[in-house]
């Protein structure tokens, strides 16, 4: 005869008490293991679906959403490609004419004045003599010109107010300015309609003199690895004044154009010929950039979903474990009350306090151990059933985590014992004389 035989006999005698404790542990462990298995399935799915989504996005963006540049007819396109700048102009009125037309193949109109100037024209940039002729691009922009026949959309390019300047990464570096952190933009039509007047006044990072005018630098763009890093953006009207191009622009950038036909540039050229005769159209900007952006967005969405699930599980699982632990403690407390006469006689016949403690903790440990096995099986099965894994995935081997099984086999009995600790100590400290007298 030993304590464990006593524990086992009592379990067989009070099956309901044991079963309730067991279910409680199984629920807590099942919830924990189920959540972990689902999250693991989520991770695998995110990883694999993310790849699939990226591929889909690549295919989709390959055929949609390209940019075009509308230039004066006499502009030498080679000059743009080799020098990166435009020297011919066309009336600003062209932009308004295009905006008022009912053209459907074009979105997001950005008229601009483009120049290539010496970087040293910004007074606060000090260059060594060898680099004194280093150039940069100046783009005068007024932000987007809305198309009259379309609903307002969130602008792709921000307006640059008069007297302010946005600089590329390399320019910012010369000025010892760090790239600005991306602002949390609210998207959608409502926000677009609020207009720029309500925008928060941007913080001035530096004040510089450029071609005899004072500009406040309000933003440093992050490093993009293209010519934008060596570009500054100023207000369109100011650029027209600085470069003596009043009411003139060098080009109109049209972003995210859509075409139904395969020869999309030809389709736009055909449309523009009627509206803006005397212009030419070229495709602008590498589509790979747009695709990379789409891929990043897809990845961010997947990661955000995973984080949401993790935070949900992070709240739910501790609550369930706490609730079940409390329930086990209450069951143990009831068990101690029910067995007070037995405790009295066991103490009378010579059992020590530690042996009485072991009788109750032993039962809790057994409940925890068996509950852990049942709960692990149930939680893992639930996770396997509910976790949506891509087909042809060996779910069992990918989701089964031996370290998780080991952890539950160790932690569940420990928590069950901890929950039963106070009732067990109370039992071990009961005065046998009082119990036997009461009986």
């Amino acid at each position: 005869m030993n304590v464990w035989r006593l524990v086992l006999r009592e379990i067989l005698h009070r099956k309901l008490n044991f079963a309730m404790g067991l279910v409680s542990v199984a629920v807590a462990v099942g919830c924990f293991v189920g959540a972990r298995t689902l999250l693991r399935a989520d991770e695998i799915q995110t990883e694999q679906a993310g790849k699939a989504l990226e591929d889909s996005m690549r295919k989709i963006t390959k055929g949609l959403g390209f940019n075009i540049l509308i230039l004066p007819e006499d502009q030498d396109v080679n000059e743009l490609h080799t020098e990166g700048t435009l020297t011919k102009s066309m009336p600003y009125e062209y932009v308004e004419r295009l905006a008022n037309s009912k053209i459907v193949t074009i979105n997001h109109l950005l008229p601009m004045v483009v120049r290539k100037v010496r970087m040293a024209e910004i007074d606060k940039i000090e260059l060594p003599p060898a680099e004194s002729e280093t150039s940069m691009y100046v783009i005068g922009t007024r932000g987007e010109v809305p198309l009259v026949h379309r609903d307002l959309k969130k602008p792709l390019e921000d307006h640059v107010p008069a007297g302010t300047m946005v600089v590329g990464f390399q320019i910012g570096k010369k000025l010892q300015l760090k790239p600005s952190k991306p602002s949390k933009k609210k998207s959608g039509k409502k926000n677009a309609q609020k207009g720029e007047a309500k925008k928060a006044k941007p913080k001035t990072l530096e004040t510089v003199n450029f071609l005899g005018r004072e500009f406040k630098i309000t933003k440093v763009k992050p490093e993009l690895g293209n010519r934008d890093d060596s570009t500054i953006w100023i207000n369109l009207t100011e650029s027209q004044e600085l470069f003596d191009s009043k009411n003139l622009v060098n080009g109109i950038l049209a972003l995210e154009c859509n075409c139904a036909t395969a020869d999309r540039v030809a389709e736009i050229r055909n449309d523009l010929e009627r509206i803006l005769p005397g212009t030419q159209v070229i495709e602008s900007g590498p589509p790979a950039l747009a695709r990379a952006e789409a891929r990043n967005q897809a990845k961010q969405v997947a990661v955000k979903n995973l984080e949401q699930h993790q935070s949900f599980a992070g709240v739910l699982v501790p609550l369930v474990v706490l609730g079940c632990g409390t329930w086990i403690g209450l069951l143990a407390f009831g068990n101690v009350r029910q067995r007070s006469s037995e405790i009295g006689i066991l103490r009378a016949i010579g059992l020590r306090s530690v042996q009485i403690l072991l009788i109750f903790l032993g039962k809790a440990i057994l409940i925890g151990l068996i509950g852990a096995v049942v709960g692990y099986a149930a939680g893992f099965g639930f996770g396997m059933a509910m976790g949506t894994l891509p087909e042809a995935t060996d779910a069992w081997s990918q989701l089964f985590a031996p370290e998780l099984l080991l952890a539950t086999l160790l932690i569940a009995p420990a928590i069950a014992a901890l929950a039963s600790w106070i009732p067990a100590v109370l039992a071990s400290r009961q005065d046998p004389a009082m119990i036997l007298q009461a009986d």
Partner: protein, 223 residues
């Protein structure tokens, strides 16, 4: 002397009043002696038994069991001492409801760690005529069988002193006689029995009877 209580007093303190259960009581029992204690309800009989059994410390006085004061021992050693030297039999039997007869009789072996406990238990059960009831739980036993099981349990560790609190209170004449006979048999083997009872039949088996009232011995009389 196997059991010696010298000037033992015990008072229970309650919110309403103090109740004196034993007042300067002295009692001795030799090896092989069967001592009965009689008295009205609430006279302190059970308190006497618990104090003698090392379960309830007296307020004053000395208790010696085979020359050892159990209350001078640390709690764990006192429990071990109790397991080895003292056996208890109660009116309510106090059997463990989920254990069969054999396991109930074996229960004191958890405390004593006795290696031949199984054989000893089976021997006792056979001696009490219950060998065909080995795995019956108390609910499946008659009251006489329950008390015999409790008696076998009390004897498992071969104690020197057996303390019996109204062991025949719930038994018919035949079973009471059997139980008392077994107690008498125990003293014949050199043990000492302290029996507290109302039952006049029990007195017939005792070598001496002590009457207590109000926590004091009032009139010792020969059996």
């Amino acid at each position: 002397m196997l059991l010696e209580l010298q000037n033992v007093s015990k008072t229970y303190h309650t919110a309403k009043s103090d109740v004196c259960a034993l007042n300067d009581l002295t009692l001795t029992i030799d090896a092989g002696q069967f001592q009965a204690v009689q008295g009205p309800s609430g006279c302190g009989k059970t308190t006497l038994l618990l104090i003698a059994g090392g379960l309830l410390a007296p307020d004053s006085g000395t208790v010696l069991v085979d020359g050892t004061n159990p209350y001078s021992l640390p709690p764990n050693e006192r429990a071990q001492f109790r397991a080895s030297n003292i056996g208890f039999v109660f009116q309510q039997f106090h059997l463990i409801p989920y254990l069969g007869v054999l396991d109930n009789v074996l229960a004191p072996a958890i405390a004593s760690g006795r290696t031949d406990a199984q054989a000893r238990a089976e021997e006792l059960i056979a001696h009490f005529g219950m060998q065909d009831r080995l795995h019956h739980v108390p609910a499946q036993l008659s009251t006489g069988e329950r008390q015999r099981t409790a008696l076998a349990r009390a004897l498992l560790n071969e104690p020197k002193v057996l303390l019996a609190d109204e062991p025949t209170g719930n038994l018919d004449h035949e079973n009471a006689a059997a139980v008392l006979g077994h107690l008498k048999e125990f003293t014949a083997g050199g043990g000492a029995v302290l029996l507290v009872t109302h039952d006049d039949r029990a007195v017939e088996y005792a070598e001496s009877v002590t009457n207590i009232d109000g926590g004091q011995i009032v009139a010792p009389q020969p059996a």
